[in-house]
Amino acid sequence: MRSRGSAARVGTEWGLRLLILALLAGYLVHTLRVRYRGATEASESRGLAVALARWSTVAAPARVHLALSHPPSVLERDWLAALPGAGTAVAWAGGSLLPTAIAVDPVADPAGGVEVAVATPSAVTVELRDTLGILDSVRTVAAGVRFTVPKVRPALEAEVGPVVARGTVHDSLELHRLLVLGDAQWETKFAIAALEERGWQVDAHIAVSPRHRGDVQQGEIGDIDTSRYSAVLAIDTTAARYGDRITRFVRAGGGLLLWSPAAKAPALAALAPGVPGTPIVDEHQAPTDTAPRTALEVVPVVRLRPDAIVLERRGEAVTLAARRVGSGRVVETGYTDAWRWRMAGGDAAPDEERTWLARLVASVAYTGRREMAAPPTDVAPVATLIDRLGPGTPKLDATGVMALTAVLRWVFPVLVAAMLLEWSSRRLRGVK
């Protein structure tokens, strides 16, 4: 007579058989459904790499839904873009992904440096990083922000929330010489000093006396063209004698930095963004570190041309203005005694003045460009994602798909365990 224990055991075995059958039936139904409707899988950013490998090898779902908390890597993005070609449609949602783009341009400055432009929505925090950490952090007011980074980095990243745009410099610039034209005065002397200390090679014509050989020259001033000079600095009317050559130079792409006294000269006035106004005489206060140029004498740029761009103001007075002339660029500066900043300013004044003048020159300088090898970049990750995969789906509920996937993952081991249990129980009872 069968004991209660063996009855229970037999009952358990039958239970296991029923479970096995149910699981097999479930698999069959799922398989048939997949066959007719196609499999749908889902993934989040975290498990995307593993999921991609699975979708491309073991299982090729008909569609995949992605819930992205951060943009996929370049490799993952390219992989996803290839899936539709293999019969897997890709849909994604990434509401938290803010469109971010970065552009890195070298600055025409022998001391190096780059200018980084980051495009973002307004009122977001942008962190600029390099390989060693954060360089700066700012909350944007308008649609993006620009930085200057004094030293070139292999790669720069702009991080806006979960989105990281990575950019690098692709070109190196070929700098030519500068030509400085002015009277023997402090502004001429210190402008040349600042630029040479910065690393520029400077030719100069300094008017000292109209006598024969009464002027001072540095370098051989022959043709003024873009093969020899990146920019011309015209400090006063001494430059007028080169007026025609400067005009041709600028139209051909050369840069011109015009001081207000030079902008009065008829030969150069046609190039200037505006007309020099009435000087605002300084009170001989020492330039401060926080606002050094407010203590300087300035000749405001007035009667701006229609195509002139205001670069800087002091109150209502325009102190820096720019315009394009032909292929070249012209900046007019109203600061006629910038040398006082260097001499009378704070501890950092010489460096600061040098940097400021160098950046003005960089803004107009004509340079050659040479492409160089650069590490891979991802300058606009969200835009590229949209470009490759199409726009995101605003509402996407992948949770059901993900739940089913999770369940199916456990069915096979349960099935095998049930079969083993049932077989071993039966065999141990002595039943074949």
């Binding site: 023997a184 006396s209 001072v216 006063d236 006629t336 006082r340 001499m343």
Partner: protein, 203 residues
């Protein structure tokens, strides 16, 4: 745009005003030989004041011992390092005298040892050319002072440029006269002063 203003250094310890006609004389010479926009009158500027930095060329002379105050030393150091040109002339032309001893001590305390300027230096050719520089004065061998011809000038160089120039040759006496007197002279002794100013404005 600033014009060139001849500045005379005013310092606490000595007779800084010992060559009162010199500024007017050199201003006159600059106007005679160059087209430099020069102010018609000179100024005095205290070495200890921030105004020093508004005048990148300063003339300093005297007979009496020179002892910089802390403020004067700080200013002078900063002034020269930023590109200013300070000309110091021994009005005694006496290397055994106290002006020379004390001012050279102050210069060394502030900048370290001066460099002897070679006689082929561009200072002697930057406007007028002097064949046997530095140009001598009528006072060096007048029986006063050390009664020596001083064959060199000394300088503190900043990145290869003269920031401070020191002279025992008593240009202060040589140029301390009314500018109108030049018309009676066959050789204008102030030409080297023009070189100094042109050097400061162009180098």
């Amino acid at each position: 745009m600033s014009r060139f203003v001849f500045a005379t250094a005013e310092y606490v310890s000595g007779d800084w005003e010992s060559a009162p006609a010199l500024p007017e004389n050199l201003i006159d010479s600059v106007a005679r030989y160059t087209s430099i926009d020069v102010a018609p009158v000179g100024v005095n500027v205290k070495l200890s004041s921030p105004e020093l930095f508004d005048h990148p060329f300063v003339w300093m002379t005297g007979h009496l011992p020179v002892r910089f105050t802390d403020a004067e030393r700080r200013n002078v150091k900063r002034y020269v390092e930023r590109g200013g040109f300070l000309m110091i002339d021994d009005h005694n032309h006496d290397v055994t005298g106290q002006f020379h001893k004390t001012v050279t001590e102050e210069i060394e305390r502030t900048f370290g040892k001066m460099t002897r300027l070679p006689n082929a230096h561009e200072l002697y050719r930057c406007f007028f050319v002097f064949e046997n520089p530095p140009p001598n004065t009528h006072h060096e061998l007048n029986g006063y002072g050390d009664d020596l011809l001083h064959r060199y000038l000394d300088a503190v160089l900043v990145n290869g440029r003269i920031g401070l120039l020191y002279s025992n040759k008593d240009y202060s006496s040589e140029w301390n006269f009314h500018a109108e007197t030049k018309k009676f002279m066959t050789q204008d002794p102030t030409k080297f002063g023009v070189n100094l100013i042109v050097y400061a404005l162009t180098r």
